[in-house]
Symmetry: C2
Subunit: 211 residues, 2 copies
């Protein structure tokens, strides 16, 4: 259900919407942490008193942005576009990457930004988190390189790309598990990924995964 207040006049509702849409755009571009109420005020071209009339603080505004995304997606508006062929899949992947590039990877998909970007952490800490994940990836990559050298991955497989994929799938699965308070999405995602890897391995000299 929308938490949109019904107290506002039509004109007031219009102003409120304009603010929420401006916040949505800015968060998509820059990420949640880098957007201030002042940025949103300028982008929406409203006064400070108008912003604070509708939103007590940044958290309230962010909740309204999520609310907007929730309404849009429940109204049956396609978020991903057609997804029914390999071409469509590749083109979805391309759009996601391009969106990320355009925002200098600070923003991009607003829901992922909202679900993951609310870090009131300083830049140092973000850098540390990035480094820790890189070390995880290094471990995975070293394993895949060994498997590749041992012939347990087909010669055409790229151990480096598989390592990034594996780490990403694990992180995404953990995000979904935490948001849903349920480990099942993590399990499904990892199992499907390992099954896909296994099918790559089936053309390989040694069968990798005992069944």
């Amino acid at each position: 259900m929308s938490r949109k207040s019904l107290r506002h006049t039509a004109k007031g509702e219009h102003t409120r919407q304009r603010i929420v849409e401006a916040a949505d755009r800015l968060i998509g571009w820059r990420g949640v942490t880098r957007v201030t109420l002042e940025d949103v005020r300028a982008e929406a071209n409203v006064s400070s008193s108008q912003i604070y009339h509708y939103f007590a603080d940044k958290q309230a505004l962010i909740a309204a942005v999520v609310d907007r995304q929730d309404s849009l997606s429940s109204a049956g508006e396609s978020m991903l576009g057609a997804f029914e062929s390999a071409d469509a899949l590749r083109s979805w992947g391309r759009r996601l990457v391009e969106g990320q590039r355009e925002s200098q990877s600070a923003g991009g998909c607003p829901i992922v930004t909202l679900g993951t970007g609310l870090m009131d952490l300083d830049v140092d800490t973000v850098g540390q988190l990035a480094r820790i994940f890189r070390r995880c990836e290094d471990e995975i990559r070293a394993g895949y390189r060994t498997m590749h050298a041992n012939g347990e991955l087909p010669p055409s497989a790229d151990p480096d790309a598989l390592a990034t994929m594996t780490l990403a799938t694990a992180i995404g699965g953990l995000v979904l598990a935490q948001l849903n308070s349920d480990a099942q999405p993590l399990q499904l995602a990892l199992d499907a990924m390992l099954d896909c890897l296994q099918s790559r391995q089936e053309n390989s000299p040694k069968t990798l995964v005992p069944n």
Copy 2:
């Protein structure tokens, strides 16, 4: 570099470490939002004045937890365990899922929790984010089911599991892109995933991905 203060005596440093370790454990179990300084105080068995002596606020404590993880991982301590065979891969997946289950999916991997769980959002908003991602997954699933029905995925493929995997890989790729301010991890992860899918499709009647 560790931001650990060097001003403390050996005993003080020991107390500080005990607090950070307690916070690390609690965040892993419950997630960042659900852990208060009071919880950490009780878990570490120290006084309030001791906590506030070392950490001005929760953010400072969280930064120290990240610092600890950074030091542990840079010291070459394996985070993932052996990763050099299919068995090791499956067992890593199993441990990740079990950790998630044990924490009722609130905590689990502390770095993912830190990188993604810092949501000062209310429970409603978390529920909305989960719903929005479910709708994305629904769209992906519908596409994969069509492809499955059209023979563009092999009969043994599970479109539902592939949809969860695809969403998870995209989310994880976006998290890595944002943490690194670089779209490349997203691109690598998505490309590798689509390549893996393609190799599943190669045994399928119709070739899915034109080369």
